[in-house]
Structure formats: structure tokens, C-alpha cells
């Protein structure tokens, strides 16, 4: 399809997309690699090699328990990605479903779903996640659920707005005139035409999810020890700040790079998608 070919050739030239894509790929590659290999076991402690500075054996040095920092960073990527993917998926599937329903049915269904979203929006995202985890208990799974829940209203809102715009278009009227029901129209006509917007938001939410997970872990509410997590690395590095401040910098950089990469990717996608939509006419 000629429109898709045009997309990739333009994408290659778009700086944000390329930079974001590179960083995100780095993140994913690191996580995948860590599934099969890390320099050392990320949980392997060694009292002899505590607080070592970077050396050929330990590229980033070791922490106060003798664990190789590079290994923990790599394994932490796994954690961040899995939390990001699953929580955003939960929010996306449920939120998009709600949004499509609201846009198709209008009336009180729309009111109820949107006001419920507004209610959830009233809470700052991290705070909501914390409240939920406080209610259901700490741990990776619960962190995923909490972050997933705060993603729902975001996708619901976005979908309802985009879907409502598609419902006004004439080909939807043509489908109604042909006799198609609301559900079929939502799935066959509305959804394909809003996918682009949802994907862009998905990358942004992924970045937010990584940050949220780091925040929860920092507070001790996310991945519990000994599971590696960037957020917890930060909190553990706090006590060592006068001895080796770099212990906090490494996980901070990892988080920053991941979030930056995803945001750049999202920006790039948004720019590339908008003119493409316009050109489809």
C-alpha cells in the first residue's frame, strides 16, 4: 500500500522518531538480553566486593551488598518493560472498550463512563497508584494492576473523543444506511480509524508507567526484594549517597533514557501520523 511505504521513508528521516526508536530499542534489547545473560547474577551478593568502583570486572562497579550494578540495571529493564507493557495493555483494552461504547451509545452510558473517568482523573496518577497498592498490598503484580487502573480513564477519554469524531463521518452514515449495527460499526469502521491516535498515546503511557513503577518501587510498594528494580535501586542508594553517589546516578540515567526514548518515539509517531492522515484524502 503506497501510503505505508511513504510512512517508512518519512519515518527514517524524522529525528525524534529515529532517536526515540533507537533508545526504545536499546531498552527492549537490554531487557531481552538480560533474560538469557547478565554479567553476574543480579541478586548475587558478595561481601568481599562491596562498593567497588567501575573496573574491567564490574563495568559500573558494585553496590553496598556487592551486587554488580550493570547486572541489576539490565535485569531492572525487564521489570520496567513488563510492568509497562502489561499495565498499559490493561488500561488500553478496558479504556478503549469503554470509550468506544460511550461514543456509540451516547446518552446515559456516555455520561456514566465519562464521569467515572473524570472521577479517576481527579486523583494525581501516582497518588492513585499508591492508594490502590496500599489497599491491595505491595508487589509487582499489584503495582501492575494499580498502574493499569489509572491508565483506564486516559484511554477512555481519548478514545471517546476520537471515536465521536469518526462517528460524524459520512462513511459511518453509509454503514448505518446499509444496515450495520453499532457494535459492528465500532469494530469495523471506528476502531481502525482511531488506532493511530491510540498507539501514540500508548507510547506516552508506557513512559509514564515506567516512571510510576519506579516511584512505587522507590517507596517500597513495587517489586519486592530481591527482584531487581530501578526504583528500589534509587531508594537503596540514598543511604550510600556520601560514599558513592554514582549508585543513584546509574538507575536514574536508566529511567531517564527509557522515558526520554519513549517520549521521543511518541512525538515522532504523532508528527508522522498526522500528515499521513491528511494525505489519505
Amino acid at each position: 500500500m503506497s501510503a505505508a511505504n511513504g510512512f517508512w521513508s518519512r519515518a527514517r528521516r524524522h529525528r525524534s522518531f529515529v532517536a526515540g526508536g533507537a533508545l526504545t530499542s536499546l531498552l527492549i534489547a537490554t531487557a531481552l538480553l538480560s533474560l538469557i545473560w547478565t554479567p553476574y547474577g543480579p541478586t548475587k551478593m558478595s561481601l568481599r566486593y562491596r562498593l567497588k568502583l567501575p573496573s574491567p570486572e564490574h563495568w559500573l562497579g558494585t553496590d553496598q551488598y556487592g551486587r554488580d550494578i550493570l547486572s541489576i540495571i539490565m535485569a531492572g529493564a525487564q521489570n520496567s518493560i513488563s510492568v509497562g507493557v502489561v499495565s498499559v495493555s490493561i488500561g488500553l483494552v478496558i479504556g478503549v472498550g469503554m470509550g468506544l461504547l460511550a461514543a456509540a451509545r451516547r446518552g446515559w452510558i456516555e455520561e456514566v463512563t465519562m464521569r467515572a473517568s473524570d472521577f479517576a482523573f481527579a486523583f494525581p496518577a501516582i497518588l492513585l497508584a499508591i492508594m490502590l497498592v496500599a489497599a491491595i498490598g505491595p508487589g509487582s503484580v499489584n503495582a501492575i494492576i494499580a498502574i493499569g487502573v489509572f491508565n483506564i480513564p486516559i484511554f477512555a477519554r481519548l478514545t471517546r473523543g476520537a471515536a465521536a469524531a469518526v462517528w460524524t463521518r459520512e462513511f459511518v452514515l453509509a454503514a448505518r444506511a446499509a444496515g450495520k449495527g453499532l457494535t459492528r460499526i465500532s469494530v469495523e469502521h471506528v476502531l481502525p480509524n482511531i488506532t493511530a491516535v491510540i498507539v501514540v498515546q500508548g507510547t506516552v503511557q508506557f513512559a509514564i508507567a515506567i516512571l510510576a513503577e519506579a516511584a512505587l518501587s522507590y517507596l517500597g510498594l513495587g517489586a519486592q526484594p530481591p527482584a531487581p528494580s530501578w526504583g528500589r535501586m534509587l531508594s537503596e542508594a540514598q543511604t550510600m549517597i556520601y560514599i558513592n553517589p554514582m549508585l543513584a546516578v546509574y538507575p536514574g540515567i536508566a529511567i531517564a533514557i527509557s522515558v526520554l526514548g519513549l517520549n521521543l518515539l511518541g512525538d515522532g509517531l504523532r508528527d508522522l501520523i498526522d500528515p499521513r492522515l491528511a494525505r489519505q484524502r
Binding site: 453509509a174 444496515g179 484524502r281
Partner: protein
């Protein structure tokens, strides 16, 4: 002529009011009176045109007849069945007999679907059919509008405006409907492309026996394609007759003014003083008396107070004017 043919569309006393969103807490919301008592009958084999300017209600009429918007009162019968009294399943089945073509060739086709899928949509909505049969029907529809079987797998953006409109017509034809309601089908097209599509519409009428209800602001288009025409003004039909009669001997003052206003492609620099001043007044208030009274060059006091009925003045010729 022949025996009276079957009535395909029968609309009776159609009224449609839209309530606008409230502008103030203290006043009731304003209303738009889009249709104010429309009756019409379309018989098989006699294509019916509806002409009028902005605000006359012709597009609303098309949507109400297509079952897309429920009228505030009145009924619509397609092949004898009342559209707004049927259950969802029955209505869907009835839709096989009436289909619609829209104005915008760029907006009425889903850009994410392939042409084959777009054209088959009315079939898919109705029932499951064998893939082979479905494919044959799609190709048949495309070929009858002058496109090719190979176009089935292309996307709308690969086609020009005129070709897209043909795709829309193919979509409307695929269930072999008794009537196709076409809302400004050629307005968005260039002159030379418009001619191709108009000839296509004529050919389909002759070869497949499909009847049209054609909505247009362009009188010449209606003259070319249709047998009967109704002229609308502010939600009512003011004149209705066979095309040749309306355009050669119009009886309603609005029809006369409308015809006089159409610029003919004949070089003449004499300035016609336009007969009508001002524009259509808003449809926000139901007129007492004739809706055309305040712009009519032939108005009399009676016109302001008494609303004229649509009455027959000759065979098949109805006019709504006290003095026609």
C-alpha cells in the same frame, strides 16, 4: 400509459423538528423546523428529484426516508412497510430494497477498507453468503459502474473523485435495491466527471430498472435524470410535477424565481434584476401563512395569514399557492 406501477416510497405528513442546545437557563431551547408536513409518493420506474436551496429540508428529507433519523411525526413506507415501526432485524432486511449514495466522494468511503469490502458492505450487513457468491456480486457491481474486477483490492485513496463516486454507486447497487436515494451525488465533482456519472446513473436506470430519489440544488441535473420533481422551500413541498412541466411552465412564484436565477451558458450581458431580495429567513419559527410570503413578488395580504395547501391543479401537478 401502462398500468399504474408499484409505489416504492410513500411518505405521509412528515414533520421533523430539531431541538437546539439551550442558550440560556431562563428560556426554552430554540427549535429548528426542518420538515413541516411533507407528503410524497415515488413509483417504480419514475425517478423523483427534490430541489431547493439551503434550509429547505431536502437533506433532512433524504435521511428521514432512509430510516436514519426518526421524524417527529408522520410515516415512511418502503414497498408498503412502515420503516419506523419495524424491529431492528426486519428493518435490516428491508434495507436491501433501499440504499443511499452520498455527496462527498472523499468522506463516504472508509479510507481503511479496501474497495471490495466497501462495496460489499450492504450485503455483509444483511446475511452471511458464500465467499464465491460474494465475490461475484462485488465484481458485478463494480463492472456495472464501469470499474474493473482488479479494483477490488485497492484503497479509496488510489481513485479520483469521480471513480470514488462510482464505488459509492456500486455499493448502493449491490443488493439490487428498488430505489436508490442519492443526496447531491455529483455536486462535488468537476463538470466533465459529473457528466460521466450522470450518464452512468441514466444507464443504470435503463438497464437495471432502478428508481432514484435524487436530491440536488442543481436544477439541470434533476432535469436530466428524473421524471418527476418536487421543489421544496422551508420544509415544505411548494410545487411538484413531471420535470418537463415544472421547468417549462412553473406555477409557484418560488419555482419561477429559482428558474430565472439559474445562469444559462449563453452569452448575454443584460443584467437581470433578481426577483428575490434577501435570503431564506430562519427556520426557527413556524410561519403562519405561506412560508414564502415575505419574499414573494406576488404576495397578497391573504398569504400572510393563510397557509396554502398543496393541491392538484392539473394531472400530476401539485402547487401550494393561493394564486397558482
Amino acid at each position: 400509459m401502462n398500468a399504474p406501477s408499484e409505489t416504492v416510497v410513500a411518505a405521509e405528513a412528515l414533520h421533523k423538528r430539531y431541538v437546539l442546545p439551550r442558550e440560556s437557563l431562563f428560556q426554552p431551547p430554540a427549535e429548528v423546523f426542518a420538515l413541516n408536513g411533507v407528503d410524497l409518493e415515488i413509483r417504480r420506474g419514475r425517478s423523483f428529484g427534490v430541489v431547493g436551496e439551503s434550509g429547505c429540508g431536502k437533506s433532512t428529507l433524504a435521511r428521514v426516508i432512509m430510516g436514519l433519523e426518526r421524524p417527529s411525526s408522520g410515516s415512511v413506507r418502503i414497498l408498503g412497510q412502515s420503516v419506523y415501526d419495524l424491529g431492528a432485524e426486519d428493518l435490516r432486511g428491508l434495507r436491501r430494497h433501499f440504499q443511499m449514495v452520498f455527496q462527498d466522494p472523499y468522506g463516504s468511503l472508509d479510507p481503511r477498507h479496501k474497495v471490495g469490502r466497501i462495496v460489499a458492505e450492504p450485503l455483509d450487513a444483511l446475511e452471511k453468503i458464500e465467499p464465491d457468491v460474494r465475490r461475484d456480486r462485488i465484481v458485478g457491481a463494480l463492472e456495472s459502474v464501469g470499474l474493473k474486477a482488479g479494483d477490488t483490492d485497492k484503497y479509496p485513496h488510489e481513485f479520483s473523485g469521480g471513480q470514488r463516486q462510482r464505488i459509492a454507486i456500486a455499493r448502493a447497487l449491490i443488493t439490487r435495491p428498488a430505489i436508490i436515494i442519492a443526496d447531491e451525488p455529483v455536486s462535488a465533482l468537476d463538470v466533465s466527471v459529473q457528466a460521466q456519472v450522470l450518464n452512468l446513473l441514466q444507464d443504470l436506470q435503463a438497464e437495471l430498472g432502478v428508481t432514484y430519489m435524487l436530491i440536488s440544488h442543481d436544477l439541470a441535473v434533476v432535469d436530466y435524470v428524473c421524471d418527476d420533481v418536487a421543489v421544496m422551500y422551508l420544509g415544505q413541498i411548494v410545487e411538484q410535477a413531471p420535470v418537463s412541466q415544472v421547468f417549462s411552465t412553473p406555477r409557484h412564484p418560488y419555482t419561477k424565481a429559482l428558474l430565472a436565477a439559474v445562469p444559462r451558458p449563453v452569452a448575454s450581458r443584460r443584467r437581470r434584476r433578481s426577483q428575490l431580495q434577501g435570503g431564506v429567513i430562519s427556520q426557527m419559527a413556524l410561519a403562519v401563512g405561506c412560508p414564502f410570503a415575505d419574499r414573494c413578488p406576488e404576495a397578497q395580504p391573504r398569504c400572510q395569514s393563510e397557509s396554502p395547501a398543496l393541491r392538484s391543479i392539473a394531472e400530476n401537478h401539485r402547487v401550494s399557492c393561493h394564486f397558482a
